[in-house]
Symmetry: C2
Subunit: 339 residues, 2 copies
């Protein structure tokens, strides 16, 4: 690379001291007359001066970088949040490093190490199951972090999420109102709190109508999605318990589930009604557009960045749980209200 | 934050000089006995020593960071490439900063400035139209960069992409073989070379069969996608030129187009056959699964990272254009072969 333009170069060109240039370019020009400040900035621009933020960060202790760890950046739920976090971080002058944990404890630790080695000022994480000790270690090291989408009751930490219990309760209650009586659920195993909350909401809605059957709640593994959905659906569709509706706990589960329902030539909603969490273009284009719980990704991303930067600036109180909005988007896949 | 563990702390604990610790932790332990090296590494781990890569980068001139600039990280084409670039970069010990240009010249310049201020070692860009001067400036500053998906004939630069002309030619030729005669195309305006190549392939395939009509080639604006697709489709569906097939130049155009065809109650493929570029879950779940040109995103991401890191290590020759594979995935949306 060619030699970088330094403050010295600017000082020589203008005919002033390096200290004076430094005052102006570090925006402390209170001590410098406005005309001189303007001249220095003009020359800096002409010479294409570029501040070395890395060097500066050694003094300030800041890099203006956030590390974002999601399960998989290619999953639309996370790529949409990433986009909002990017835009929001930019407002504060921050850029974003990203990484995908694939729900793996080891990969999550690797990403945390990498981002801390690069002196990320704060982390935003959709934490994988079993990463509680990693988060406790971050707390101990006083690294600011914010959890999005997921959280752990055992780890007191800033988090931004929806009320998963309420959202699931509302979705299943809607299916009950359309006259469905045997409603199955397909969720992830792994015991993540947000998945358990969705299951709890599903269960409570059915119990309130005396219709809960434990056998209708099936779990798939994140790493073996296709097989897990196949096994779960084949359970739910057995003649003795044949469901009239399926509640999918995520968009990935629903997309895989709809592909398999198509392969089985089952019609939505006549053979099986469907409702899901989260948006997808695929839901819009499905022949029976899919009803879903819409999480406010904009609020989620915005609040996550706000809390992360408050953490960096030490302004935050010990712990904040932000519950953002979620609503039910009802379309054809649920069938219509009975009566 | 708590005080960081330094090499001095390790040296004191082991009872050796700081220089010795530095040799070992910077992997120059040829000069140190293997037992001593092992002991030093063990203590470093016990004390939770974390090298300051930022400080180290001031000496090495490297941050092991790549900056990735795409049009929109929430577009599945780019989030899938981002995921592959992330995984590939990790193999080389690099992490990735990302940013979305929204096809804006100003946003692109802003992201380039930000990433260079953070001392990214190299950039990978899917450049927006009109950013040629920004790329020329990168060349002048000897910042290594690689173009993915798009490129500019006027800017000699490393690039990784498919043969867009051939891929479009093959897609349209397939539609012709199924007996379609009035094939429309919907693409983006803005004059990007890869879009022009797709248009050129479309045109040549039709000209080879004496079926080209300029009026059947329509363009939409990236920033006003919905209106652009509506206007384009209404042109293509006018009674006097009613098309029997539409070739969409990107997945975003196709998804919006299919939504509008649904709203118009037109059946695919009977009323209008459809073929697109790029994958989408929505294509799989559409009632007539959509045929598409599949670009090898894995090869694209892998080659982009390889070239970027070669650039950092100064091993690259002046210019490399890598053409990765693309194939045609034929499904129901094209209809079937006549005869």
């Amino acid at each position: 690379m060619e030699r970088k333009v330094s403050m010295k170069d600017i000082a020589e060109r203008v005919g002033v001291s390096i200290a004076l240039v430094s005052y102006v370019l570090n925006e402390k020009e209170g001590r410098v007359g406005p005309e001189m400040a303007q001249q220095i900035r003009k020359v800096a621009q002409e010479l294409n001066y570029r501040p070395n933020l890395i060097a500066r960060s050694l003094q300030s202790g800041r890099t203006n970088t956030l590390g974002l760890i999601v399960a998989d950046i290619s999953n639309p739920f996370f790529s949409n949040i990433a986009r909002i976090i990017e835009d929001e971080a930019k407002q504060y002058g921050y850029t974003v490093l990203f990484g995908s944990s694939d729900e793996s404890v080891e990969k999550s630790q690797g990403l945390i190490d990498t981002f801390l080695n690069r002196q990320a000022d704060a982390l935003i994480l959709a934490p994988a199951a079993g990463t509680e000790p990693q988060l406790m270690a971050l707390k101990k090291k006083k690294i600011p972090f914010v959890l999005v989408d997921r959280y752990f009751p055992s780890v007191p930490a800033n988090s931004v999420r929806i009320d998963n219990y309420q959202a699931a309760y509302k979705a299943v209650t809607h299916l009950l109102r359309t006259g469905k009586k045997r409603i199955g659920m397909l969720t992830y195993d792994g015991g993540m709190e947000h998945m358990q909350e969705r299951e709890r909401g599903y269960r409570q809605a059915l119990e309130d109508h005396g219709l809960y059957q434990a056998a209708l709640s099936q779990r798939a593994s994140y790493l073996h999605l296709q097989e897990g959905v196949a096994t779960g659906l084949s359970h739910l569709l057995q003649p003795d318990r044949k469901v009239d509706a399926v509640f999918f706990a995520t968009n990935s589960l629903a997309i895989e589930g709809l592909k398999q329902l198509n392969a089985l030539r089952l019609k939505v909603p006549d053979d099986v009604a469907v409702i899901s969490f989260d948006e997808s273009d695929a839901f819009d284009l499905f022949y029976a557009p899919v009803s879903y719980v819409r999480q406010s990704l904009r609020d989620m991303g915005r609040e996550a960045v706000r809390l992360a930067i408050q953490g960096v600036e030490q302004k935050s109180r010990p712990q904040v749980d932000v519950i953002v909005g979620a609503d039910l988007v009802i379309r054809k896949s649920c069938g219509f209200k009975a009566g």
